[in-house]
Assembly symmetry: C2
Homo-oligomer: 409 residues x 2
């Protein structure tokens, strides 16, 4: 039985709504996946994340491998039990993080994914794997496709990602081609390791690389499908701007429609409001991104305003005496609790952690509601109208007949 | 009708259990009051604090006066509405904070109350009030008994504290005597201001000063009672060690038993586990302290272990692989959620805010349960046995027949 049960398709795009079955419950797609990089969604308890209606979070193999280590988490019964999260977990393979130590910051900036902190460094990239210096204790460490698979098994990950080289934006076509080929060889090693080491029940996703070159993306998509992976993730450099990013995603999902339409698709590291809407139209099922939670910690709320890139920086002086809530009809603890922009402004200025906490709850509520709206619209055959309205600034809390993300269905 | 309805008294001490009526609901005493210094219990939403079973929090007049200002909070409908907290609020007068800018750090250390941050400075202490430099913007500001009363009225405080000079430990008897006399003159001005400016329904507490000198404490207690204040707070320097602190508190509550046994009593800035137990025996009804929340942010959990001062520093290497919970039977999200010391250790080491959040919830659960145990023991006539057991390390979660702090009664 395929992991993804597609329950509705949009007629004017590649968008689809479905239910993705994992060992830790079903994921209603399209879905956003909050980051739990080091085993916690920043500032929230697992119970709070579940209460927001999320079915899945993303843990990071690289960071958890270095600290506290896969053995301890395995001994605790897996990452779910370790962090008290009963629903599904997808784990990044560590490829992006280890390469971001050497590849500079372009990819970080474009993808909004966190680098490795300071102190780490790549020592050698070899066919076998990557030797690097740990940012935790300065020790020399090694990661490879096999080690990534082994650690993800120790984490009891429900969705395991292949260990890839995340090709950065600033390299040339030749480097990209050679890097993508190595990613495919590493993909084969991941598949082999999993065949030889049966572990906790999990789905395996290949990662499409190929930079901004259509032929390389097409070839990488085909190689990913041919690997037999249960799902496909789109990774690597997606370009210099949104137009190019959408084009790059389009190449992959176009091929996937042809080659493996039923397999689930994940888009790595993308999560701005307009990108989520476009990504859904392009046929992506799941998304992860640091953006909603990171913005919150820096005093910025998500709001239905395309003119401001859907952002409201409550720490700006303009909001010092604004007694309105962030958003009418928003069910988050800040808005539903009657808290004002002035209060959130005050907390941001005072450096009170409650401010970041409330904004995190708000932003994740906003994104959960947005995804729930898009899913309901696909099911109801109204995606073009709903996507258009959301893109133009209609509040997801105001779009009629959208499902409440906190209720299953 | 008196504000405090005493429903039970312990026969072997001055301890009593009661219900303190305020404009925002009843407080079950003895009770601990979490700090919401700048309008938020650090890291928690108001809903989370209420869910832990607390009936009251403490806001800080000094900090809120400087930022965001009493006018804005008044316009928002008071501090309750501003911060989304529907239950009672007691507000510190600002005396402690403004004087801590000039008085050095002894009082801070002993009382565990936060100073004013950096950049502030006392410019002049005059009979009229205190001129100082704001730590927020460097501007020159003035606070006086009248201003403190006016700001507390703007905050819609349920329990208003008199504006006092918090006499530090390192000054001599003569300074203490003169300072205490000024506190009494300021007390009279507070009473007069409140008579002339009827504001939101509130209780007014005088603050007993007098340092570590019995005759001054006795005189200050008598002056506080004579002022007609509805309640009495014990403040100022309480001595160099716990023995002296208990003695200083004893002088006041002994006098209060004689002069005004029915009036509620608050102990300012004290909240270590053994101090709470002793304070209850000495006849204190309510306590506030930064300790439980501050320890949590620094990676320390409260546990039933007197040998370690009731503290467990989860960030210590000893807990790196300890898969036990912080405390058996604890209903907090960390313990009840099956989270281990190893997980909390990991979060502390990684600097994840979720760690401080979970420890804050645990520590406030521990303290709420402790107070609820003591209250139930007074009502059941078992205080000596229960206090003794708690002091010797029996878990408050294990003491039979203790009320759940989250349930009203």
């Amino acid at each position: 039985m395929p992991a993804l049960r597609i329950i509705a398709r949009d007629r004017s795009s590649r968008a689809r709504a479905g239910v993705l079955a994992t060992a830790h419950g079903e994921i209603r797609t399209p879905a956003f996946v909050p980051l739990a990089t080091a085993g916690a969604v920043r500032g929230l308890t697992a119970g709070e994340v579940a209460a927001l209606g999320y079915d899945i979070v993303l843990g990071n193999t690289f960071h958890l491998f270095l600290r506290p280590g896969g053995e301890l988490i395995d001994r605790a019964g897996g990452l779910h039990r370790f962090m008290g999260w009963e629903r599904a977990i997808i784990t990044d393979s560590g490829g992006f993080q280890v390469f971001s130590m050497g590849h500079g910051t372009v990819a970080d900036e474009i993808k909004g994914r966190r680098g490795n902190g300071s102190g780490g460094a790549i020592l050698a990239i070899e066919e076998d794997g990557v030797r690097f210096r740990s940012y935790v204790d300065g020790s020399e460490r090694f990661i490879s496709p096999e080690i990534s698979m082994a650690v993800q098994a120790q984490l009891h990950s429900d969705i395991v990602l292949a260990f890839d080289e995340c090709t950065p934006f600033h390299v040339d076509r030749d480097y990209t081609a050679r890097s993508t080929e190595r990613t495919h060889r590493w993909l084969a090693r991941c598949v082999r390791w999993r065949a030889e080491n049966p572990g906790p029940d999990s789905l395996f996703y290949a990662i499409v690389q190929g930079g901004v070159y259509e032929d390389l993306r097409v070839a990488s998509t085909a190689a990913s499908v041919a690997s037999g992976a249960e799902g496909i993730a789109v990774g690597g450099s997606l370009g210099a701007d949104k137009a190019q990013m959408y084009e790059v995603i389009d190449w992959s999902t176009r091929e996937l429609e042809r080659l493996a339409a039923e397999r689930p698709r994940h888009l790595l590291g993308i999560g701005e409001v307009d990108d989520l809407i476009r990504g859904v139209e392009l046929g992506i099922d799941t998304f992860d991104c640091a953006m909603p939670t990171r913005l919150a910690r820096h005093g910025t709320a998500l709001v239905a305003d395309p003119a401001s890139r859907f952002r409201l920086a409550v720490d700006r002086p303009a909001f010092a005496a604004d007694l309105a809530p962030l958003a009418a009809d928003c069910p988050c603890p800040a808005c539903a609790g009657g808290l004002s922009r002035a209060y959130l402004h005050h907390l941001a200025r005072t450096g009170e952690q409650t401010g970041g906490h409330l904004l995190t709850l708000h932003n994740l509520t906003f994104i959960a509601t947005l995804m729930s709206c898009l899913r309901a619209a696909i099911i109801d055959g109204r995606l073009p109208a709903v996507a258009g309205a959301l893109r133009e600034g209609e509040s997801p809390f105001g779009v009629g007949a959208c499902a409440d993300p906190r209720e299953g269905s």
